[in-house]
């Protein structure tokens, strides 16, 4: 157990590096903060694309329009055939009347379709809801192709393009954020390790004397580890602060923007601290080899 005087010393020394090299430390924190900001930005974009994709996929249900003159019987026969297609969760029949009412509801009160047209032009249709695992562009296309072969079917409609584009971007961004995280991790560790090395080089005499009078390696190490962690913490808080500020500005303009949950923010900052720890550890290792 360290004594009170030792703890006091360790605390003071952990911050002393900051005070002695304000510029170096400041630059380090800024560089690391920017790198982490880029990392967080990529994560946020990936998160948002993912959530957008989820929403889009939730809405990629198929609308199967039928030919007009089928008759109630043949229309009803289609329902069991649709339900057994793999990937289909449920099927709902929408008659011509229901379709018209739906349209009326969408247009609002200004236009009265019922009076504007004397015959109902809307075809009967089936609303096909897909099971979650079938909500991908490939699965939807497969189901569409199958249904289109049926002679009763006039047309199949869904938001195909939209989902495909989203899916492509989503996978691109996932890969990109993976690469960016690796680069940023390496950069952050490197930058911190360099600053801590500078601190240690400037205190070579101090370290030598500490060893000489019998300081344990842990005692020598601790202030530098703290310094690295502190730099990581500050860089992480700065990056997260900038991002959170930008988010709160954009939130009013963009609907459904996803941000980190508080726990994710804490996790991000903890990650930054551990990057600092790894960086300073790497710097010290070389120094303390007796």
């Amino acid at each position: 157990m360290p004594s009170k005087t030792q703890i006091g010393y360790l605390l003071r020394e952990s911050f002393a590096g900051f005070a002695r090299r304000k510029l170096t430390t400041g630059v380090t924190i800024l560089i690391m903060g920017s790198a982490l900001l880029i990392l967080a930005l990529f994560t946020i974009v990936t998160l948002n694309l993912g959530s957008l994709l989820e929403t889009a996929r939730g809405g990629i249900d198929l609308r199967v329009f039928l030919h007009e003159e089928l008759g109630a019987q043949r229309e009803a026969e289609l329902q069991p055939r649709l339900v057994v297609i793999p990937g289909v969760q449920s099927v709902a029949y929408i008659s011509k009347d229901m379709a018209l009412r739906e349209l009326q509801a969408q247009l609002g009160d200004e236009v009265d379709i019922m009076t504007a047209v004397d015959t109902n032009p809307l075809p009967p249709s089936y609303q096909v809801t897909l099971s979650p695992d079938a909500r991908t562009a490939a699965a939807v296309e497969r189901i569409e192709q199958e249904i289109l072969l049926w002679p009763e079917v006039q047309e199949v409609v869904y938001a195909q393009r939209w989902v495909e584009v989203l899916e492509r971007w989503n996978s691109v961004f996932r890969l990109a954020s993976l690469i960016v995280s690796l680069v940023v991790f390496a950069a952050a560790v490197f930058v911190i390790s360099n600053t801590v090395k500078l601190t240690m080089a400037s205190q070579a005499r101090l370290i030598e004397i500490m060893k000489l009078v019998g300081a344990t390696n842990w005692f020598i190490r601790t202030p530098y580890l703290c310094e690295g962690m502190l730099q990581g913490l500050l860089a992480g808080v700065i990056a997260m602060g900038i991002l959170a500020g930008t988010y709160s500005l954009l939130r009013s303009q963009m609907d459904g923007l996803v941000f980190f949950t508080p726990w994710q923010m804490v996790g991000f900052v903890l990650l930054c601290i551990s990057l600092g720890l790894v960086g300073s550890w790497a710097a010290i290792r070389k120094y303390l080899r007796t």
Partner: protein, 270 residues
Amino acid sequence: MKFDSKINKGPLDLRTVIGFFHTHLLYRDHAALTDVSFTVANGEFVCLTGPSGAGKSSILRLITMDLLPTEGQVIVRGMVSTNMNRRRIPLLRREIGYVFQDFRLLEDRDVYQNVQFAQVVVGISSKQMKNNVMRLLTQVGLWDKRHRLPHQLSGGEQQRVAIARAMVNSPKILLADEPTGNLDPVVAQEIIDLLFRINTGGTCVVFSTHDHEIVKNFGQRVIVIENGRITSDEEHKTAASTAHRLADRMYRPSAPQPAAVRVQEGSERA
């Protein structure tokens, strides 16, 4: 462990604080020490002399276990180089004071802080620490200059600060590596006297110097080392020196009492 005739197997003399047993040291592929054997008893004053590069510093670094022998064995305060836990080396170093030719003080801290620092590292309570630092600085006669920075002191004063720092943790062994190398003869003699006083207090002193002449007049044991080998190890107790030392110890009321240098055991460590 395989049998090795070059390792001390028998019981050590209880008074032995430093023991070298057929120690060989390869340093950067060059034989720094060859078959060095000697023991130092508790409270002894030993001079280590020989030309620069002969291996004096290697011996001192082996004593602090900063280096470990390539072959043979070094035993210091019961710590055995061939069979030890490296994590305990810091504890050994707390029992060894070390003084250098170039003082090695922390330039950005004042005299008081320099001495205090050695105690902070070891983790002594702040009240004890204050007492110890005051006592040591008074003994080396620098209490009045405790707020000076090292560069505001003369060479002799800086070395006395270094000695205070080395002694503040009440070590059993004091290693002095050319402590007078940067000092003029008068100041050098003051430092040597201080080391003698520390020795009379019961601390074992190993005094390393390339200057064989000053050492001869000490009237102490002198180990001569040349080319990494011990070439002579004998007492230089001239009648004159013994009488002088005796008189010095007994009739110098102005000098701090030897007993004061020795620190009460047990109470010092937190």
